[in-house]
């Protein structure tokens, strides 16, 4: 850094220049161009992306926990290998996403620290417990299915590194969704006990999954800006409706009941319309009072601390190798 702060002077004198830059930036996005690290971007674009991407990354990492709990209890070897592979994928997705956030200037340490000290959020859905094996099917089909709709949209977003991370994630998530759907199909056609187990699972996960898409559009203050900047090109309610329309006919065909007495098909719009979402529950969970918030973070913290010796050993080895080469 030089003695004279050139940037400060430029900033004060040529504000119209900044507006021209913003105009050009928005024109690039309108033309479908991707913004790459190094390109000019408004500070708010950068900050919004870091917020979104790091939350997305944390969700992948915490998302390993509810399903990981069932790896040792999977009913067959095939299911066990599949679940192991799926949980490993989620860890990988977290890595892809932290990388995308790093290209915007956030550091890995800052982000992990924000998660472990409860400064950062992750998807509410992972604060619910996995009580039965059927939950593994429901999470794969419903929760990952919902995530795919969101990530398919983000794979087209205006920021290159985030778009590329989502493209890769979507390809792998299709496997997650299908293995879950297969579990639900088998259980729904199984014994009375299995049918009851999968129905109970749908009863518990249906509403929390619908909440994953976030508050109604009328309550989402950031959506105008995020849409204009090509980050979130579909609204929360649009994505939620796509999900409902996709899932309702399939669940009903399997003889499963959707836990919503107000659910009805609207001939005019071709949409399945749902009853009221319990937003009090949503806000309770998001502010830290869900069934598993404390347990999830305690597990993450313990994993981070328990891994310290591995990180130390690798650093010591690298140092020794470097010194060996130098001498």
């Amino acid at each position: 850094m030089g003695y004279i702060n050139i940037n400060e002077k430029v900033d004060v004198e040529v504000k119209p220049d900044k507006e021209a830059k913003l105009e050009e930036f928005e024109a690039r996005i309108a033309r479908g161009e991707k913004i790459e690290p190094g390109d000019w971007m408004p500070e708010r674009y950068r900050k919004q992306l870091i917020r979104m991407i790091s939350q997305h990354a944390h969700s992948e990492i915490v998302g390993m926990l509810p399903e990981g709990a069932w790896i040792t209890r999977a009913p067959t070897l095939r299911r066990k290998m599949t679940l192991l592979a799926k949980v490993q994928d989620e860890g990988g997705h977290g890595q892809y996403l932290y990388h995308a956030a790093e290209t915007l200037g956030a550091t890995r340490e800052e982000m992990l620290d924000a998660l472990l000290t409860e400064k950062a959020k992750y998807s509410n859905i992972f604060n619910y417990p996995t009580l039965t094996w059927a939950d593994i099917g429901t999470i794969g089909w419903l929760v990952d299915g919902a995530a795919i709709l969101n990530q398919t949209m983000l794979a087209k977003c205006s920021y290159g590194p985030y778009a590329r991370a989502n493209t890769r994630i979507c390809a792998e998530e299709s496997f997650h969704k299908r293995q879950g759907q297969e579990i639900v199909i088998f259980l729904a056609q199984g014994t009375d006990e299995q049918k009851a187990m999968v129905q109970d699972s749908i009863n518990r996960w249906w509403w929390p999954t619908l909440m994953m898409f976030g508050p109604h559009d009328s309550d989402s203050p950031n959506s105008g800006e995020l849409s204009r900047w090509g980050i979130k090109t579909k609204s929360n309610d649009e994505l939620r409706q796509m999900f409902i329309n996709e899932l309702v006919p399939d669940l009903q065909a399997l003889g499963l009941t959707i836990p919503d007495p107000d659910l009805r098909y609207d001939e005019e719009s071709g949409n399945w319309l749902i009853g009221e979402i319990d937003w009090d529950e949503f806000w309770q969970v998001i502010t830290g009072n869900g069934p598993c918030n404390k347990e999830r973070l305690a597990t993450r913290r313990k994993a981070h601390e328990d891994g310290l010796w591995v990180r130390e050993a690798l650093s010591a080895y690298a140092e020794k190798q470097a010194n060996g080469k130098a001498s």
Binding site: G38, H99, R108, E109, A163, Q179, E182, L254
Partner: protein, 185 residues
């Protein structure tokens, strides 16, 4: 020892021998060797890699087309050092908006700026949207001998593939049976 962040390495994958290396993503690791091993675990869980390269992210000299539009880009660029002799630099470029950084060739240069100037002169066809250049000596690579142990095992793990789960056909059959049952009533 404090729990600090390791350097970031950019990762490049070659999906088959007739394809160039492409940037996949990045990984944190204490050295190039660990970076290569971690990258293999994180990015090659599915069978599509024959060769992998990693390079410390801070050794990459990066410019977007927008940055290069500034006629003074070379004088405004901060770089670490200029060596007295030339050395090979790898050149990567991004050609399509939806694409990623892709290997295009090697240039000999004394500094990253000079390497990019050479690259601009030789490889500008297709108007690349962004460029990466870095000295070849900082790259850690997998060897052809590593394919069997590093990449082949994923070939057998077909259960990671969505096509192993025939849920679309299953749902189709279930709905067809339901319709037939309705019709016969």
């Amino acid at each position: 020892m404090t729990d600090t962040q390791w350097p970031r390495y950019e990762v490049f994958e070659q999906v088959s021998e007739d394809q160039p290396h492409q940037n996949t993503n990045s990984i944190h690791a204490p050295d190039g060797e660990m970076a290569l091993m971690n990258a293999r675990d994180v990015f090659v869980r599915r069978p599509y890699c024959v060769s992998m390269w990693v390079v410390p992210a801070d050794k990459i000299f990066s410019k977007t087309a927008q940055e290069l539009a500034d006629p003074d880009w070379a004088t405004n660029s901060e770089i670490e050092s200029v060596s007295t002799s030339t050395e090979p630099y790898y050149v990567f470029q991004k050609l399509k908006h939806r694409g990623s950084q892709t290997y295009i060739g090697i240039v000999e240069a004394q500094s990253p700026i000079e390497a990019l100037q050479h690259a601009l002169a030789v490889y500008s066809e297709g108007n690349p949207l962004a460029w990466w250049v870095f000295p070849a000596r900082f790259v850690t690579k997998s060897e052809p001998d590593d394919i069997e142990s590093m990449f082949d095992p994923s070939l057998d793990k077909t259960f990671r593939d969505q096509s192993e789960y025939h849920t679309i056909a299953m749902m189709y059959e279930i709905k067809k049976r339901a319709r037939q049952a309705e019709d016969s009533e």
